[in-house]
Each structure stands twice: as structure tokens, then as C-alpha cells.
């Protein structure tokens, strides 16, 4: 079973994941600010991507009064059933990691759904900081020099 692995040590802070996420879930407009994954710089050269961990005993699922958060048995991701959601926002408050939000553009609760089994963030991560895999790649992966990042989707 594949999962989304995050290895902050390899993150180069390029934010390609944010862009990819917002494209993948684009509604009317897209902007990295609306991404479900976010990259936090914790030092000048250290970055931490944060996305939903798809917790086994998830607080969001527990707190949802309308059973609108349902785990997809194929991807193991917790998905939002918008026909059930009443936007009480309790999931956004209860998630201890802050990984579920109200998207004001579409007035909907949004969270990482691993793009249905092929997460765009991992696809476009140039440094294996995000991986969609059975298990994560072990060991250091050489970081490209800052400023010389070649984003995969720009490859001709």
C-alpha cells in the first residue's frame, strides 16, 4: 500500500508541491496560498512540508457530526463527502496538526486526499522530500544547488 512520505531533511523549499496541489484541486482560480500542503521554513535552509497524515484514529473523523469524513479504502486517505458536510468547522478546530481547512473560495472543507492515489505534490517534488511509495527511500538524496532547481514539469 502506498502512502505519502514526507522527509523534511530533503526539502529544498521550492514550493513546487504547493503549486502542484493547488493546480490539482483548482476550482475557479489557483494559488499556492490555497494548497492543502504547506511548506514552512524553519531556518534559512531548512523547510518542513506539512500535509494530512491520514491518522488512523483521526480526530477530524471522530468529531464530524455528519459522517462526512470517510476513509477511502483504496488510498487510505480521509476524504470529505461534501453532500454530507454541514461546515460546522469542528474538524478544522479538532485536527491536532492543522491539516483540514475551510476553503473560502468554494465554501468547502478541504484536506489532502492524496489526489485519489497519485498525489501531485509528490509527483512534482524534485528532491524526494515527498514520496508516494510503499516505503520511503532511505538515505540522503543529494540536494540540488539552490537556484538551480529544475522542476519536473518544466522539463521539455
Amino acid at each position: 500500500m502506498k502512502r505519502l512520505f514526507i522527509t523534511p531533511d530533503r526539502c529544498i523549499g521550492c514550493r513546487a508541491c504547493e503549486l502542484a496541489c493547488s493546480f490539482a484541486h483548482a476550482v475557479a482560480l489557483t494559488s499556492p496560498a490555497l494548497s492543502r500542503i504547506r511548506v514552512y521554513p524553519v531556518a534559512s535552509d531548512r523547510f518542513v512540508p506539512v500535509a494530512c497524515l491520514q491518522c488512523e484514529e483521526a480526530a477530524c473523523v471522530k468529531v464530524c457530526p455528519t459522517q462526512a469524513l470517510v476513509r477511502n479504502p483504496e488510498t487510505l486517505a480521509i476524504e470529505v463527502d461534501h453532500t454530507r458536510c454541514v461546515k460546522c468547522m469542528m474538524c478544522t478546530v479538532a485536527c491536532p496538526f492543522g491539516n483540514i481547512h475551510l476553503d473560502l473560495r468554494v465554501d468547502q472543507i478541504v484536506k489532502c486526499d492524496v489526489c485519489g492515489g497519485d498525489p501531485a505534490c509528490a509527483r512534482f517534488c524534485p528532491s524526494l522530500a515527498l514520496e508516494w511509495a510503499e516505503r520511503p527511500t532511505v538515505g540522503p538524496v543529494p540536494k540540488p544547488e539552490p537556484g538551480r532547481v529544475v522542476l519536473p514539469f518544466l522539463v521539455p
Binding site: 514552512y40 531548512r46 506539512v50 462526512a68 460546522c88 492543522g98
Partner: protein, 254 residues
């Protein structure tokens, strides 16, 4: 699993499912104003009429509270169903002919106006009861209820006073199919069903989290620690990043 047909197409359903949810799941288009998958089917609006044939006998019935049964055949549209749905829509339109959501449904059904006299109370409420069911069944607050009967029926808190049971979660307003449950919110307070709540804010950034009653109710229902309910999602996410950094790079300042 049981099998039956919808408009000639064989479909499978779980026992206990109703016809409407099975039909919607299979992509059939059935109009409804009072159905919500999270709460029990109620059958108030009567728009989801279908024709069900069972053991050779046909009848018109609402699909939302008709159980999926093996061997039945369901017809979602024919001239008679369409005509009855249009009449139902005309009746519902009497509640508030100007309501945009009702107008949209009327357009969908090919009803351009109602030939009938309008109802005496035209507040847009079509008495579908979704607010009442979401409040009672999903939220567990049970703050509002139908009052009166017949043409005088309406929804209210007990004695029309601010309800002690209401937690101000706004779920009722969110599910209302005609969007007529009023509430107001400013920086510090939220008011709904005549009750004003003082809002709880994120302990980090001051963003609004909800009402204290709502947060307490959800905490009680889930058994989660109170600390789950004091910070907003944005601040939490930042904290998560910090925690991850600590795990990755150890106690040292990065």
C-alpha cells in the same frame, strides 16, 4: 446486497438503503429539497416521487423513504411523475415564490409560476425539517422543533425563546435548502435563533474557533482533550512544522 431495477437498469444496493440514495449513487436525477445523506429520510417535500412496481402492483411513492427491496422496479420519470412533481413544486412555491433556490428547482422541473394563492406565511421556509434533523440527529443539540400543525406549522425553539440547548454551530443554517435561517456574526459574537454567543478565539492568533457551547459539546461527544479545541488550523499547522523539525533535526536549533 440486493438487486432491483431503476428505469430498466439493474442496480445493487445494501439492505436498509432507500431508493433515493441508491438512485443518486447510480447517477439518476431525482429532484429533492428535504433529503440530506447525513440524516434520516423524512419525506416532507414530496418531490422525489417515483413509481415503484412490486409484485405486479404499481404505486407512486417518495423514493427517499422507500426501502430498496429485491426485485422491485423503479421508474424515476414518466409523464405522470413529471406532472405530479410539477404540481408539488407549485404547492411548494406558494411558500415563497421569490426564493432563488425554490425558483431554481422550479426551473429545473419546468414550472414557471404557481397558479395558486400564496401561503399566508412566506418566509421561504418549506418545512423540510432538515434543520431540525441535523440539530437533533447529527449535532445532538435538539434545540429546535416543529411547532403547531397543518398550515400553521413552523420551526422554532421552545416557546420561541433563546434555546438553552442551542450551541450556535450554524449547522441548521448550512443545511437549509432555501437558505433562510438567519444568523449574524461579528468579531466577538454570533447570534442565531435569538441567542447570542460569545465566540472563542484561537489562543495563538485570535482567529474565531466557534462558540464555547459548541466546542464543549464536541469535546464531550468525542472524549478528546480540551487542548484539541483551543487553536486554529493555521496555527496548528505551523506548530506541526516546528514539531517535525524537532524530530528531523533533533533538539538543536535549526
Amino acid at each position: 446486497m440486493l438487486t432491483f431495477t431503476i428505469d430498466g437498469q439493474t442496480v445493487q444496493a445494501e439492505e436498509g438503503q432507500n431508493l433515493l440514495e441508491v438512485a443518486l449513487a447510480h447517477g439518476f436525477d431525482i429532484p429533492t429539497l428535504c433529503y440530506h445523506p447525513s440524516v434520516s429520510a423524512y419525506g416532507a417535500c414530496r418531490l422525489c416521487l417515483v413509481e415503484v412496481t412490486q409484485r405486479g402492483r404499481s404505486r407512486i411513492t417518495t423514493s427517499c423513504n422507500y426501502p430498496a427491496l429485491p426485485g422491485i422496479s423503479v421508474v424515476t420519470r414518466n409523464d405522470r411523475i413529471d406532472r405530479l412533481r410539477r404540481l408539488v413544486m407549485e404547492l411548494i412555491l406558494c411558500r415563497d415564490p421569490g426564493n432563488p433556490q425554490l425558483q431554481a428547482m422550479a426551473d429545473r422541473l419546468g414550472v414557471d409560476r404557481t397558479r395558486l394563492r400564496f401561503a399566508s406565511r412566506q418566509d421561504g421556509c418549506i418545512l423540510c425539517g432538515l434543520c431540525e434533523r441535523i440539530c437533533r440527529e447529527s449535532i445532538g443539540a435538539d434545540a429546535i422543533s416543529f411547532v403547531g400543525r397543518g398550515h400553521e406549522r413552523r420551526l422554532a425553539t421552545p416557546f420561541d425563546e433563546p434555546s438553552e440547548s442551542c450551541v450556535g454551530c450554524l449547522a441548521c443554517a448550512m443545511v437549509c435548502p432555501t437558505q433562510v435561517i438567519e444568523f449574524t456574526q461579528d468579531a466577538d459574537t454570533r447570534t442565531i435563533w435569538k441567542r447570542t454567543f460569545t465566540l472563542v478565539k484561537c489562543k495563538e492568533c485570535g482567529a474565531v474557533l466557534g462558540t464555547p457551547e459548541e466546542l464543549a459539546l464536541f469535546q464531550r461527544k468525542t472524549g478528546l482533550d480540551a487542548s484539541y479545541f483551543d487553536t486554529c488550523d493555521a496555527c496548528r499547522k505551523k506548530q506541526t512544522a516546528t514539531a517535525f523539525a524537532a524530530v528531523t533535526w533533533g533538539g538543536q536549533r535549526p
